[in-house]
Symmetry: C2
Subunit: 145 residues, 2 copies
Amino acid sequence: MIDPTRQDEIRKSIELFYFSYRAFTAQPDQILEQRGLGRVHHRILYFVGRNPDITVNGLLKILSVSKQALNTPLRQLIGMKLVSIRPALHDARFKQLHLTADGEKLEAQLTGTQISHLAAVFGKTGRNAEVEWQKVVREIADIDG
Amino acid sequence: MIDPTRQDEIRKSIELFYFSYRAFTAQPDQILEQRGLGRVHHRILYFVGRNPDITVNGLLKILSVSKQALNTPLRQLIGMKLVSIRPALHDARFKQLHLTADGEKLEAQLTGTQISHLAAVFGKTGRNAEVEWQKVVREIADIDG
DNA sequence: GCGTCGGGTCAATCATATTGACATTATATT
DNA sequence: AATATAATGTCAATATGATTGACCCGACGC
């Protein structure tokens, strides 16, 4: 059992986590809405941008969604010429994805709001807070390194 | 413009934020699924538990959802006798919500997994990291104090 | 009694997600 | 060459969820 007072402290953290994540996604969500897109589209753009030549299956694993759930938004992005898809040279079964110039623009706009947001926060809270915050989120996500 | 190297650093933080939030909600999501409930139900249970006698409108504002979106899950919780609803004494137009004994049990179970998760993380990263992490998420959420 | 307020519901629509099944194309195996 | 397997794509059926708009009720203030 955890001390009740301690539990209340941690509940504060839980609430802040929730509200912070919501605030963090609010701006890109708004931009996406104007284009009739959703958060999934942003995630696709983000991870394709960060992992050029990623395969469809690789993207599925990162996003932890079914291929059917990925199919529609991915096709939309390809149709809008924001993402391109082409067979891999070494094995044509694999299709590789990457952002087009327009896709890079939109991705930069969407993630740009979040980068500015975080940069402003870290600027205010300081270097030490940034480093410690990273340690904690990395630990929550259970990622080594 | 922000320095590209700096941008990449912050992108790391963005990814960690995303993966950590996903990992953080995974356990309660699993428990909820077994009961045919979703994340909204957890949020309702959480905030009703934290704010006894909260009104329906108060809950709407905290959750930032429409009353139609709240209606179904809230009715389900009331039907399952996890949440009770009754007119306020001072003004019978207002309905006040609170958790039943069963509701408290489930809420404790759901949030309990998250409390344990965070307690373990903070135990590992230390007091300083906890304090600094809180400062950052509070700033991201744009909450004073 | 009348206007207003908090709350509840219905309808129509749209989006999203899920499972299962099946098709296609390309590579690997024998 | 025939066959099995891998990566991807798609269709169908279903379920869920959210949104907007409209409308209703009961309770309160005046």
